[in-house]
Symmetry: C2
Subunit: 619 residues, 2 copies
């Protein structure tokens, strides 16, 4: 039935049959699919708005003054060469198309969308809490004991994986720096990077498990939580580091014409393409999200299990031929034998991990790539059915494990949401051109419009200031060219502080930082407001709980009255007092028992009374 109703692409538009899933697979897997369902459902409005923001960009790109100016050949900005000796001067209008594409993702609407997504994350977490409470109630998990003791000290090997993490971080940029010495965005580099990421991903999972084994944690669930946390830290570093690098570091320390910064004397610090770093972030996110999902879904989740199965079948056949005379082999293969042929169940962690990393992409960089929710949504609609099919047909039926909540994953999601506010604030203020444009319009523009913005962002360079041997070797431009331009806020050559960071630079920096503070506090305040306005427990459930509690209390009290003095040993009786009176247990054990017992005796056997009270309550 599950196979028909659920693990089927045809059922995409339907709600998932949660209760069936829970009955067959147990609460833990049920919760995972419930969570995935809530997440996917809430991605729908986010995607819709993301597409709207993108369309807004498409529609207004022709009225956008800065990209018009960049495309205007009459303005004729001659730009300085982007590297020493081998690069030539170039015309700004040559990067017109990049500028226009960049605007699609970098307009006013994006800022609003980023704030919306912070709220969205808060709403999602709250909504999930409510759904979880409802499921806990209808699956009756509320009474479950919480067996774990939260460890209150840090694992002793924090330093070890800090080092690993740093190695990853320093390795990735280096790798890339070598891959694209030239300044154009080579999508091949991103794809290579993606492959490296995918391979490292598998390795890190193993490392995390290994490190945690060294710790010898107390219980299995503690062990699982520790593995998850470590694996998440490593894998998210792996997944997000390249994006962070491009968004916040690439091109920030590249120097200026005539004084480019070199590392190891040979490699120039790479710069973003002249269109800006944002468009590179977009490309990278697009490729990673699409590619990761396609490859991970197809190769890791479908192809490799298939291969493993083939290998096992092959091995078993070989084994089988070795002991052909085994008596069991003659028997008709039973259902469990067939099931044993399936893949063993390896826990939910990989599924959660994949989704949580995706959640990271959706929230962390939504300011630079509003289409991320759409990609995620498309992936998830497929993913739910793919996972479903996998659980129903591909792997052995897992032991039904009971679980009260999604555990450490909730904390990770909440952490990502908090971190996302900061990331988005920095993306908007430092990666996008939103702030410089605002500052120009309100502080420097004489007409109050954006006209002249491009000129304002370009600094002047006197070609006589090239250091010996760094001037373009071979140029199509006039050899007598005196002044070329470059994108930076620096004082012009004729100022007393030539090539120093200009006042504009500092004012724009101050505005960027002020925006970060403003955005962060606004988003945090709104998220807190959302979390406060949406109660954790839905009102209907709360009332039902209250009703049930009152009912149960009533029942117990009436029963108590019936039973009180018919019992033989006193301990059993007072145990009930202990529960229903607001007094410390065992305090009035001996003293009160007798008097109470006699008092109750008087109303004993009056089951009519209790029956009446019960009926009254049920009405």
């Amino acid at each position: 039935m599950l196979h028909e109703e659920w693990a089927n692409y045809g059922a995409c538009y339907k709600y998932q049959p949660m209760d069936l899933i829970r009955k067959y697979f147990g609460e833990k897997i049920g919760l995972y699919f419930a969570w995935l369902g809530v997440y996917t459902q809430l991605l729908i409005p986010a995607s819709a708005l993301g597409v709207a923001v993108f369309l807004y960009g498409c529609l207004t790109v022709d009225t956008n003054v800065p990209s018009q100016e960049m495309c205007d050949e009459r303005l004729n900005f001659t730009m300085c060469p982007l590297c020493d000796r081998v690069c030539d001067y170039w015309q700004l209008s040559s990067i017109c198309s990049t500028a226009r594409t960049s605007y699609l993702f970098d307009n006013h609407a994006t800022v609003g969308f980023a704030i919306f997504m912070s709220l969205w994350a808060a709403v999602f977490l709250e909504h999930w809490k409510r759904r979880q409470r409802c499921l806990q109630h209808s699956w009756d998990l509320t009474g479950m004991e919480d067996d774990e003791v939260r460890k209150s000290t840090f694992p002793h090997n924090v330093i070890l994986y800090r080092i690993i993490v740093f190695a990853v971080m320093s390795m990735n940029p280096d790798h890339e720096a070598k891959a694209n010495v030239r300044v154009t965005v080579t999508t091949t580099a991103v794809i290579i990077n993606l492959l490296v990421v995918l391979v490292l991903d598998e390795i890190y999972g193993a490392i995390a498990a290994w490190i945690t084994e060294l710790e010898i944690p107390k219980t299995e669930s503690t062990f699982e939580e520790h593995v998850i946390l470590k694996a998440f830290l490593l894998k998210s570093m792996n997944a997000f580091a390249p994006v962070f690098y491009v968004a916040f570091f690439k091109g920030r320390f590249a120097g200026r014409p005539g004084d480019y910064v070199y590392v190891f004397k040979d490699f120039r610090m790479e710069e973003c393409s002249p269109g800006g770093c944002l468009i590179e972030v977009c490309i990278q996110l697009g490729i990673i999200m699409l590619g990761k999902q396609l490859i991970q879904n197809n190769v890791f989740e479908i192809a490799i299990p298939k291969l493993k199965k083939m290998y096992r079948t092959y091995k078993e056949e070989k084994d089988g031929s070795a002991d052909e005379e085994d008596k069991d082999s003659k028997r008709e293969p039973q259902r469990w034998d067939l099931d044993y042929d399936l893949e063993p169940y390896e826990g939910l962690s990989p599924e959660y991990m994949e989704m949580v990393i995706q959640y990271g992409f959706v929230t962390l960089f939504v300011a630079s790539f509003p289409l991320a929710p759409v990609f995620a949504l498309l992936n998830n609609v497929i993913e739910i059915r793919l996972d479903a099919a996998k659980f129903v047909t591909e792997i052995r039926r897992p032991d039904a494990v009971s679980a009260k909540e999604i555990g450490i994953w909730y904390n990770i999601l909440s952490g990502i949401s908090k971190f996302a506010v900061i990331t988005n604030a920095f993306v908007i203020s430092f990666t996008s051109e939103f702030i410089p444009r605002m500052v120009y319009q309100y502080l420097y523009s004489e007409t109050g419009t954006m006209h002249g913005y491009t000129n304002h962002t370009l600094a002047y360079f006197n070609t006589r200031n090239f250091k010996p041997g760094t001037a373009p070797h071979d140029t199509d431009f006039d050899r007598q060219l005196r002044i070329c331009r470059y994108k930076d806020y620096r004082d012009p050559p004729w100022s007393p502080e030539a090539y120093q960071l200009s006042k504009q630079y500092w004012s724009v920096l101050a505005a960027r930082l002020a925006f970060v503070i403003f955005f962060q506090n606004l988003a945090m305040f709104l998220s807190m407001l959302v979390a406060w306005l949406i109660p954790d427990v839905p009102r209907s459930l709360k009332e039902q709980l209250k009703r049930e509690k009152a009912l149960m209390m009533d029942l117990l009290l009436t029963e108590e009255a019936d039973k009180q003095c018919t019992q033989s040993h006193p301990l059993t009786t007072t145990n009930n007092d202990m529960k229903w009176n607001n007094t410390p247990p065992f305090q009035h054990l001996a003293s009160d028992h007798h008097s109470q017992c006699q008092a109750t005796h008087a109303i004993n056997n009056s089951s009519l009374t209790s029956q009446w009270r019960l009926n009254k309550h049920l009405q």
Copy 2:
């Protein structure tokens, strides 16, 4: 006994007898005193560190270069007049003492102390949660029902008190602006302000209650919460607005010599004294904290109740003489008659409110006034005994109200703690001189030391640029004086952009804002870490709870076995199944009952077995 053991100054050094208090006054008042105790106890380390920071300032004041430079008469900075026409030029060295005092509160140690206090607030909240859990357990409040339904919509009259709040905010500065047109800090103004604050305080309490009555909330506890929240918003505005004004707004929009900003054409925007705004904040905090506490404790909490009592006694005597022949009057006065003479009990809100506002002063402005915790500690040591004496002797014994937690107050405290992080970040970066000093030392100083800092912070003004009629009318200085100095970052008269904000201004601003981001995120992260590392439930309590639960479960199960089939009506029996099995209630009500009943019958009467299981568990 309470009077001897607790409501006595002699008992200051002892712990409070919590269980006695709870027994006599009920849980609600018990929780208040427990909370006050935890708060006071945790103020001790904060005070110690605050004093240490202050002493560090005292000890290093002689080695501090900026204040040395300000006191050095040889440097001979001639400062511009601080107002138009009537003010004269002045020597910077004349404010030497203010500069030295200012340093006591504005040094490197303060920054560390501010971070410490953010952590302190987090520790305090966590510690209180733990203590509350322990008290809940030992007073057996865990089973208590939570009767309130949190309202999920904003009160409809939010706008009304927003307007009131704005009126308060705009009124206070105005009031002050009139009070001190001259630029010296007149402590009288602060004292007048304090009196206004104290009177408004009483009025606001009434307003909050009145507004909430308009809302018609559902239950008494909802009503109380709403009153508290509104009263808190109004009262805290009242208490903190003057401090906020001095810390963040005073002198920020005052203009520059030759172009001072005027409001209503008559009143100059006031400026802080040349020593800086920080010292004014200190004075204000000192006076408010000391004064508020002294006046509130003595006048409002002691004198006014005494007067009320005297008035009532007087009135009763008059009444008594009117109906002298009343038969009751002949009787010997009983205990309850005497008690009736005491003040009626008016709820805990004023006590909490006072403490929470104090907590606000301690955390919000700790960066500008490290001695705040000491003042608070001194006040609280007295306050506990004063409140105790009041409850025991001055007012009628209140009804013992049961309460599970301190309710809305916890949320208010947590809100203050979050807000405090932001306030302290801004105080350090904008009110203190910490950031300009750092920027000078690492960006502009040629020697890498602080020498020349004072010169660097003073801008140049050409006396010929005075607008007609604004130059000093009558001066002791040379009439040929060409250049005077003023404290601002502006370009000198000889630059092409004379009197514009200089590059230094923008770089310092950027540094200030960067510091805010850094500080806020660091403090938030550390607070979260603290909240995560300190579990809400102490380990010992957790283990005890687990043991009790297991014990109870065992007892119930054995009892169940004894009882199962002796009962007459099935509903009562299955009610227990419902509780102890992890299945939805009433689902297997009819079907399972009979089979289970028969199975239980087999082991019925075998109370020996259950007794054995119980004993095993107890060992």
